[in-house]
């Protein structure tokens, strides 16, 4: 699904990612953990194609194709989804309108006609129920006046609607109370399929009590310094990031 080779990234001349290697297969859930400021969000943005980052070396292969030359919207249309750490407000644009626009643009990219309204609304209904969301969410403006928890749930809802091949969830657990955390985790688990994959980026081990990862990576100072099974997360929780620092 995703294969990152020796990825080096700088921002304004300062190297943030110093040679990332990562392989994610279909059907897998990966967790990337690490202390603040080690490049977790940078990695997510670079994969998603945000401008302002300079890739100095390496490649990102997604579904067999190097995507570094693709724009952010092309990558999204290819099936890449980023759950934002800080979802952005778009005043006056309803979630329904936003998602319909997104789905139709993605369909256009694939040479398909716009989704019929009835089909679209039925899908909204289905996904809302799946994620146990309230009715009124869809008519509200995108993230405007949302609580932290609502914003994160809205990210998961968009993910459910867009059905990506690969979802990267950047600190989706931060700022969530335990109920919201459970809803988000349940959503991720329910959307898990043999033909898609998820990368969960998190600071804490807490989320991993609800989403069981196949592989855990520790990102430290721009490199993945350790990879292992889910027990690695527990070890990290127990020993703290100091342990990594001393090991690396």
């Amino acid at each position: 699904m995703l294969s990152i080779r020796n990825l080096k990234v700088s921002i304004k001349g300062k190297e943030i990612l110093k040679g990332i290697n990562l392989d994610v297969n279909a059907g897998e859930v990966h967790a990337i953990m690490g202390p603040n400021g080690t490049g977790k969000s940078t990695l997510a943005y670079v994969i998603a194609g945000r401008e302002g980052y300079e890739v100095t070396e390496g490649e990102i292969i997604f579904k067999g194709r190097n995507i570094l030359d693709l724009s952010a919207e092309e990558r999204a249309c290819e099936g890449l989804f980023l759950g934002f750490q800080y979802p952005v407000e778009i005043p006056g644009v309803s979630i329904t309108n936003f998602l319909r626009t997104a789905i139709n643009e993605q369909r256009k990219y694939k040479g398909l006609d716009p989704v019929p309204a009835v089909e679209f609304l039925a899908k909204m209904e289905e996904k809302k129920q799946l994620l146990e969301l309230q009715e009124k969410l869809a008519s509200r403006s995108v993230n405007e006046g949302f609580s932290g928890g609502e914003k994160k749930k809205n990210e998961i809802f968009q993910m459910a609607m867009l059905e990506p091949s690969l979802a990267i969830l950047d600190e989706t657990d931060s700022g969530l109370d335990i109920d919201a955390l459970r809803i988000v985790a349940t959503g991720v688990n329910k959307l898990r399929r043999p033909d898609n994959a998820t990368i969960v980026i998190t600071h804490y081990q807490r989320l991993l009590e609800y989403i069981i990862p196949d592989v855990v990576h520790v990102l430290f100072d721009g490199r993945i310094v350790k990879s292992g099974g889910k027990e690695l997360a527990l070890l990290l929780e127990e020993k703290g990031y100091e342990w990594i620092r001393s090991e690396s």
Binding site: A48, G49, R50, E51, G52, S71, A72, E73, A76, C77, F81, L82, F84, P87, V88, E89, I90, P91, G92, V93, N97, F98, L99, T101, A102, I103, E105, Q106, Y109, S141, Q158, L162
Partner: protein
């Protein structure tokens, strides 16, 4: 990133004006320039009664004493009033009895503009008055409306057939000596729409006037007069386009609205005159005086405008709140791109007790354009408990455009409550990236964000206009990202 932004901006702002064609129609033209003879010529062409000619001549003589207003935040080369043709009309041989007699070229023009003058238009429930250059070519639906006592016809017809109404109300809201452009219009106006809704009648269809400038070197000077008698209601829509020409053309119109006791008038405009090219050449100079008076108590006048066209826009749709408990509203979206200049806003004059007004203005600037809001809220001494709420928001796309706000407040009664809110924002990189990450292209993202920003105004437009306006907003800004 800055550079990238500007690139995207440039792409978006580079879409073309799709109404820029012109039609070859045999025209009846006045000689170039303006004099008493021109005024007499126009009046004679229209076979007008003496009182009408007198009105024109008085206006003309007053105009000669005036100079162009200089206070607006706009710049343009001097307008050469003696180089303009003040009357242009499609030639016609006799009175039109049915649509079959309308010049097919003309019908074709309106077809291209997406306006059907066909009787079929009845099905969509909109009555249309089509004005090309100086003359009303066709008013649809007249028969049906007359059953309700509603008069909807060209201004010229009204002068002939309803002289008493015209005499009573013309110039009663916008006097001919109101300002430079109003005086000019009053002297040389050629046609326009007239509408009277009798007591207690709720006009069963939306009324609409479609203005089209076609001929070269001409100015367009139309006037509209709407009278809603006691308890009447009407929703009125106005649309406008012009061919692409590299000279500037002058459009100086007047709209007057009178709302009697308990009456309500909703006036919606989608102004899409040719804005000039990307270098700022050509385009319409749009100097318009629009004013309504809430004459009776509990009356209401509501202006909604979406302004995307014209090289220069100078207009301040206003409401004089004379009747107690009357309501004035102004909802506006003004988009400027490339080198366009807009100085637009509203005036709310509170004369009666418990009068209420609302001003919602959304400016969107892109390219190297300048967009100004100018507004006046005035409460006189005896207007107890007057209330106004104004909100002026500006959205900037790119870093070469300007947004300005000039709000004036004059309150002479201490019981009045006046609120003014203003914001200035940019479309952020974060918003754009968020949209793009969902698969939405820059262009669509801007369309989406801008329409969301303008939603409060767009929701006041009649349905069929709203859809058009949304598309127009997206097209006007195609390519501009901030």
């Amino acid at each position: 990133m800055e550079k990238n932004q500007n690139n995207i901006l440039e792409e978006v702002t580079n879409s073309d004006y799709k109404y820029g064609f012109h039609t070859n129609i045999e025209m009846d033209l006045a000689a170039v320039g303006l004099s008493e003879d021109t005024v007499r010529f126009i009046s004679a062409k229209k076979n007008e009664p003496d009182w009408m000619l007198e009105f024109r001549l008085t206006s003309y003589r007053h105009w000669l004493t005036l100079t162009e207003p200089k206070w607006a935040h706009i710049h343009h080369p001097a307008i050469k009033y003696q180089d303009i043709i003040y009357y242009a009309a499609p030639k016609r041989k006799k009175e039109l009895a049915s649509l079959d007699e309308v010049d097919p070229e003309l019908l074709d023009t309106f077809k291209k503009l997406g306006i059907s003058l066909d009787e079929q238009k009845k099905l969509s429930g909109v009555a249309v008055d089509a004005v090309i250059d100086s003359v009303s070519v066709k008013t649809t639906f007249t028969d049906t409306l007359s059953k309700y006592g509603v008069i909807f016809c060209s201004f010229s017809d009204a002068v002939q057939n309803h002289p008493d109404l015209v005499k009573q109300y013309m110039g009663s809201v916008v006097p001919s000596n109101d300002n430079f452009f109003a005086a000019l219009n009053s002297a040389v106006f050629s046609d326009g729409s007239f509408c009277y809704i009798p007591k207690g009648v709720r006009c069963p269809v939306e009324l609409s006037t479609y203005f089209r400038i076609n001929a070269a070197n001409t100015g367009q000077f139309e006037r509209t007069l709407i009278i809603a008698d006691e308890g009447a209601y009407v929703s009125y829509m106005e649309g406008c386009t012009a061919p692409m020409r590299d000279e500037n053309q002058l459009h100086a119109a007047i709209v007057e609205i009178v709302a009697m006791k308990d009456a309500e008038v909703k006036y919606s405009t989608v102004q899409n005159w040719y804005p000039g090219n990307k270098k700022g050449e050509g385009g319409i100079y749009n100097f318009v005086t629009k004013r309504g008076i809430c004459k009776g108590s509990h009356s209401k006048i509501s202006w909604t405008q979406v302004e995307t066209g014209s090289a220069i826009t100078w207009k301040y749709p206003s409401v004089v709140l004379m009747g107690d408990n009357s309501i004035g509203e102004f909802y506006s979206v003004a988009v400027t791109n490339n080198f366009q200049q807009a100085d637009t806003g509203s005036k709310m004059i509170h004369l009666g007790k418990n009068t209420k007004s609302t001003i919602i203005s959304k400016g969107i600037s892109a390219g190297q354009s300048n967009n100004s809001y100018r507004g006046l809220v005035k409460v006189i001494k005896r207007a107890e408990n007057a209330r106004n709420f104004s909100q002026c928001d500006s959205l900037l796309l790119g870093d070469k455009c300007g947004a300005h706000t000039f709000p004036y407040i004059k309150a002479e009664n201490h019981t009045s409550i006046i609120e003014h809110e203003a914001t200035t924002s940019k479309i952020s990189d974060d918003q754009l990236f968020y949209c793009k990450q969902r698969g939405i292209s820059s262009e669509s993202a801007i369309g989406l964000i801008v329409n969301g920003y303008a939603k409060e105004v767009l929701m006041h437009l009649p349905m069929e206009f709203a859809v058009e306006a949304q598309k127009l907003l997206a097209i006007s800004l195609e390519g501009s990202v901030g």
